[in-house]
Amino acid sequence: MFDFCADPKSLEGFQWLACYLTTGKHMLFYQSFVFVIVLMLITAPIALAVGFAGALASRSHIPPVRWLGVGYTSIVRGVPDIAFFLFMPLALDQGLEWVRHKVKCPDWTDAIRQGNDFVVCAEAKLPLSSSPQWVHEYYSIALGIAAFAFVFGAFAAFVMAGAMNAVPRAQMETAEAYGMTRRQATWRILVPQMWTYALPGLSNLWMILIKATPLLFLLGIEDVVFWARELGGRKTQAFDYPHPDWRLWYFLALLVFYLLLTKLSEIGFARLSRRLARGQATLAGMEGAKA
């Protein structure tokens, strides 16, 4: 990075630190912070969409759809989320390969599960063994996102179902009195009004999502935890920048990063909640109108 970094062993003090913190691996470490934030920004809308569908399903008039919606939210809430993060990628991967196997190799006669192996034909492998390295990496990240969206979708569904129930009954009755169909009343009256009731729960969910991101490490993704362990471990004289075990300091840095992230989100949500309360028939809305 800097000119004076050519010979790291001769450096001391501040120069050493400046060179140490700008090595190639440290740059990857800094990138992984951006990666975590990007990942959350991708996951949140997907989880929100899944949650919205789940909430509508759990209010449905068709019993099987309703059972599906209610069952989905209650099972995910009853089981540790880490179990889902470990289960989902593997299950999704095998499920997709199984479907592709059935479609692409219909005349394959061997069993797919042979003892402790899961064997599908070469064309059904996901990703194909001939595909480049980046496809493999993106595939495992996509599976991770799917697992997150599944878990947080269930929580979001629960929050939004509660918010839909919190919309004053009189509003829906008025819609019916005006001759709206059920579908019209849902989309024109219920959905626009539910957000202010859903916001406290959803903001809480966003905080949980932030705090769940280090679990990506368990899926074998090179995230902040991976790099903190990698860079912080003891480095002998064989390395350019030898140092004792500094993992404590690296994890302290991660702690500060997450504290900042949650604090900033809290401030952001407080603003959003004031904005959404405008014009609502609640105490917060009345205070907003006065100001």
């Binding site: 470990l86 629960f158 994890f251």
Partner: protein, 279 residues
């Protein structure tokens, strides 16, 4: 091998009693049920100890946050902010690294007249080290819950207490504390469930599962790796945890009934844990 034999061999495997080697080939359903259930001992241990120890600290934190003195209020604010604002997973790593940095042959405590040697090795074991992290973590979350409950104790109740001549500690013990507990209880139930779920993180952070003595998720993951089939071991784990969650709701519901025993029968609220204040 019969299923009873398997239970005898592996039923207490997670605490080191019974067969040493884990099943490697020809894994049966019975073995999976037994070992994952055996791992549940650790989850219950962590959850129970952390909740019991954490209850005291969380009440102290709630009171400290409500105190007029900044010397009490500020530390409590910061404690809750740090433990609620950061991921438990990172806290496990951080504390584990801190515990391993402690001197290997114990800390020398000089008390003036004598020197005590405090053993520190046991802190790097999951059974103690992870419990400390879970205890501090749940105290912070429950402290926040009880602080909120303390703030919403009805003013009329406190004025009535004053009118009856209650004051000081007696007023707290007879009026403020029971009301606070009652108001915070549904959210606290929720916290207990989520803490129980969080205990599965222990063996997936730095804390090593010594001699393959792990918790339920550790064994579920072991079987999924060995058989390459996640569709059996994880549903078993889910089954156990749903039972555990129901047990918590039942127990906390009994306590909630006790806390509300003075209310007229028809107005008694039923305990419905709502994840509005989740961790």
């Amino acid at each position: 091998m019969s299923c009873l034999q398997t239970i005898a061999d592996y039923g207490l495997r997670s605490i080191g009693i019974g067969e040493r080697l884990l099943p490697k080939a020809d894994i049966t359903l019975c073995q999976q049920f037994t070992l994952i259930g055996s791992g549940l001992i650790w989850n219950v241990y962590f959850a129970l100890c952390a909740l019991i120890l954490g209850f005291g600290l969380s009440i102290s934190l709630a009171l400290a946050r409500n105190s007029a003195s900044p010397w009490l209020r500020k530390p409590a604010d910061w404690f809750i902010f740090v433990f609620r604002g950061s991921p438990l997973f990172i806290q496990f790593f951080l504390f584990y690294e801190a515990f391993t940095l402690l001197p290997k042959n114990g800390l020398e405590l000089n008390l003036g007249f004598t020197t005590l040697t405090a053993e520190t090795r046991w802190l790097t074991r999951a059974g103690a080290g992870a419990l400390i992290v879970l205890f501090l973590n749940t105290s912070a979350y429950a402290g926040e819950i009880f602080h909120g409950a303390l703030r919403s104790v009805p003013k009329g109740d406190l004025e009535a207490a004053d009118a009856y001549g209650f004051s000081g500690f007696k007023k707290f013990r007879r009026i403020t504390f029971p009301t606070m507990l009652r108001l915070g209880w549904p959210a606290y139930t929720n916290e207990a469930i989520f803490l129980t779920h969080a205990t599965t993180l222990v063996y997936f952070s730095s804390f090593p599962a010594w001699q393959q003595k792990g918790d339920a998720l550790y064994y579920a993951n072991y079987f999924a790796d060995k058989t390459f089939n996640p569709f059996i071991s994880y549903p078993i784990l889910a089954f156990y945890f749903i039972l555990l969650s129901l047990a918590i709701i039942f127990l906390y519901g009994r306590v909630y009934r006790h806390l509300n025993r003075h209310l007229p029968q028809a107005r008694k609220p039923r305990l419905r844990p709502r994840p509005q204040l989740m961790r």
